[in-house]
């Protein structure tokens, strides 16, 4: 049953992607639509971001000098997805981000569901000037399984 759900949501996601790709031609984009990510998914991710990440990384994703790193075009955000998912699964501390030290701690976000983790990371990878592929629930599951 669970697997079917995943498959279904994957299908939905990819059909959403196909839809979004076709759409710009039909309607002049007021805001650049993000490649392959549906507005509903972005909205969900945004709500999760506001609840769980905003106070540290800030509304504009710009972070806080010397304390909380920006989420704008960093190696972590745009790079290897398992590593990015790992930041939410394990938290992070004492690691330089794009050559800068941050004197605080990234708490693990294990209170989020896999779906929520996928949504918020997809939102982050497609906001604040970032543009990158979505993170899927399957990828979050795989990263979690690899951790164990």
């Amino acid at each position: 049953m669970k697997n079917i759900c995943v498959l279904l949501s994957l299908l939905l996601l990819s059909s959403g992607a196909a839809f979004a790709q076709k759409k710009p031609a039909a309607k002049a984009p007021a805001k650049k639509p993000t490649a392959g990510v549906s507005p509903a998914l972005l909205a969900s991710g945004k709500a999760i971001y506001a609840q769980n990440c905003l106070s540290c990384h800030q509304a504009d994703g710009g972070g806080v000098d010397g304390m909380n790193p920006p989420l704008t075009k960093t190696d972590y955000v745009l790079g290897d997805k398992p590593r990015l998912i790992g930041v939410l699964l394990n938290g992070l501390k004492g690691v330089e981000i794009n050559g800068e030290e941050y004197r605080s701690v990234m708490p693990a976000q294990t209170h989020l569901t896999e779906q929520q983790m996928a949504d918020v990371l997809t939102y982050v990878r497609n906001s604040f000037g970032n543009k990158a592929s979505a993170v899927t629930v399957g990828e979050v599951k795989a990263a979690r399984a690899a951790k164990k």
């Binding site: 506001a50 609840q51 769980n52 905003l54 106070s55 540290c56 800030q58 509304a59 504009d60 710009g62 806080v64 000098d65 010397g66 304390m67 909380n68 938290g91 501390k93 004492g94 030290e101 004197r103 605080s104 701690v105 708490p107 693990a108 209170h111």
Partner: protein, 427 residues
């Protein structure tokens, strides 16, 4: 140590003549405020100038009696963690040197020494009769091995008038949770962090090689102190605590985002030996004017904390990050400022999604060594605009404070590295 009896005399003579020279060249009238007061908003009669642009993260600042400026950088720049600046025309200054390869926050000049801290150690440098460091490459390491776990790592320093050095060791935690800053994680019983952090440690100012073992835990239950100063009137140490963050993030059922932005107050504490301000077991609610039991330790936002803990001497808006504290003893400013406190508020981040606040220097009136009457914003607009305050994207963030020999107030900024000088120019 043998002391040559003629030396102090010579020193005094040298000091006197350099003072004489100083007052000739840098009388307040010779200091010219910038036409725009360096972008600051100040009370009537005050002016400000940009002394220098260091382009570095200028944390605390010290000015010797002869007027040489030393600035501690958060991160060494071109291998130098301390900048030396000397005055030029009009009250401005220029970087004339640098030394100390370590980053850090604390710097303090007293007597014939300049003290500076990395995030683990405290050093002292000898000052000559001109108020300049004579041994930049060979300081004495007076304290070493203080805890630095990458959170609240800065070691602010100050001296009293009896040869003691006070060092803040911040707690490497927000609220001593089992898992720092994780949603719902509860407090560690008998918070073990307090053994070696979360307080003020006292050392001798003139002894090399001190460690935790030879120092004294002077006060505890202080989450993180960056601004601290010795009050000569009450002969007492005052500190500004950075209050805890994230009440809503961690306990969303107990606090909404608005409450989380306004709680807890940033507090001023008057310390005596053995004082306990109660972190992590409590926080101070500025509206109820009560010490509230922390939710990590069973609090619900209403339950009061144990009354045995120290009450704050004064309270300020939440999360505004007091990074500098200075008791003003000069005579340049009007009488009401004498012996009162200036507090540099670096500015908030943890008020989001509510608008941010701070990025100003506050004046807190004092009478007989105690806060008396409401505080007021003294120097504002370091951020550059109201929008930049609200978004937290400030142009400048005030951090360190120092008093110049003429009574000017110096302010350092660790965002853009600007060094400000505030003067009173009404007769």
């Amino acid at each position: 140590m043998k002391i040559n009896p003629t030396r102090p005399l010579l020193l005094a003579a040298a000091l006197a003549s350099s003072f004489g020279l100083y007052s000739l060249t840098s009388r307040p009238s010779a200091v010219t405020a910038d036409p725009n007061n360096a972008g600051l908003k100040l009370p009537a009669g005050f002016g400000a100038l940009v002394v220098a642009e260091t382009g570095a993260r200028a944390r605390h600042i010290a000015v010797t009696p002869q007027g040489t400026i030393y600035v501690k950088l958060n991160r060494a720049k071109d291998g130098k963690g301390i900048l030396e600046l000397k005055h030029t025309a009009g009250g401005k200054a220029t970087v004339t040197g640098g030394f100390g390869s370590y980053g850090g926050t604390g710097i303090y000049a007293k007597g014939n020494y300049l003290y500076a801290s990395s995030d683990e150690d405290v050093y002292r440098y000898k000052l000559d009769a001109k108020g300049e460091v004579t041994n930049p490459a060979q300081p004495e390491k007076i304290v070493s091995g203080l805890l630095n776990r990458g959170e609240h790592e800065s070691k602010s320093i100050v001296l009293d008038n009896a040869g003691n050095l006070y060092v803040n060791v911040g707690a490497y935690s927000n609220s001593c949770q089992e898992k720092d800053r994780e949603k719902g994680s509860m407090g560690r019983p008998g918070c073990p962090i307090l053994d070696s952090a979360g307080g003020i440690w006292q050392f001798r100012a003139d002894k090399v090689g001190q460690t935790y073992g030879t120092g004294t835990r002077f006060a505890t239950g202080l989450r993180n102190v960056v601004g601290l100063d010795w009050n000569a009137q009450s002969n007492q140490l005052f500190v500004m605590q950075h209050g805890r963050d994230q009440l809503h993030d961690i306990f969303p059922a107990l606090y909404d985002t608005k409450q989380s932005a306004e709680l807890p107050a940033e507090c001023l504490y008057a310390l005596t030996k053995g004082a306990n301000a109660g972190w992590p077991y409590l926080y101070y609610d500025p509206v109820k004017k009560q010490k509230i039991l922390a939710p990590e330790y069973g609090g619900d936002g209403k339950k009061l904390a144990d009354a045995k803990y120290l009450d704050p001497a004064a309270a300020y808006p939440a999360h505004t990050a007091p990074d500098g504290l200075l008791f003003y003893t000069g005579t340049m400013f009007p009488a009401k400022y004498r012996n009162g406190a200036f507090i540099a508020f670096h500015g908030s981040w943890n008020r989001a999604p509510e608008p941010q606040k701070g990025y100003y220097v506050v004046f807190q009136p004092f009478q007989n060594g105690k806060p008396s009457g409401p505080w007021e914003v003294f120097a504002d607009n370091f951020a550059g605009s109201a929008e930049k305050v609200a978004s937290g994207r400030a142009d400048h963030k005030p951090c360190g404070l120092a008093q110049g020999p003429d009574g000017s107030l110096y302010v350092s900024d660790d965002k853009a590295g600007t060094i400000y000088r505030i003067v009173y120019n009404q007769k």
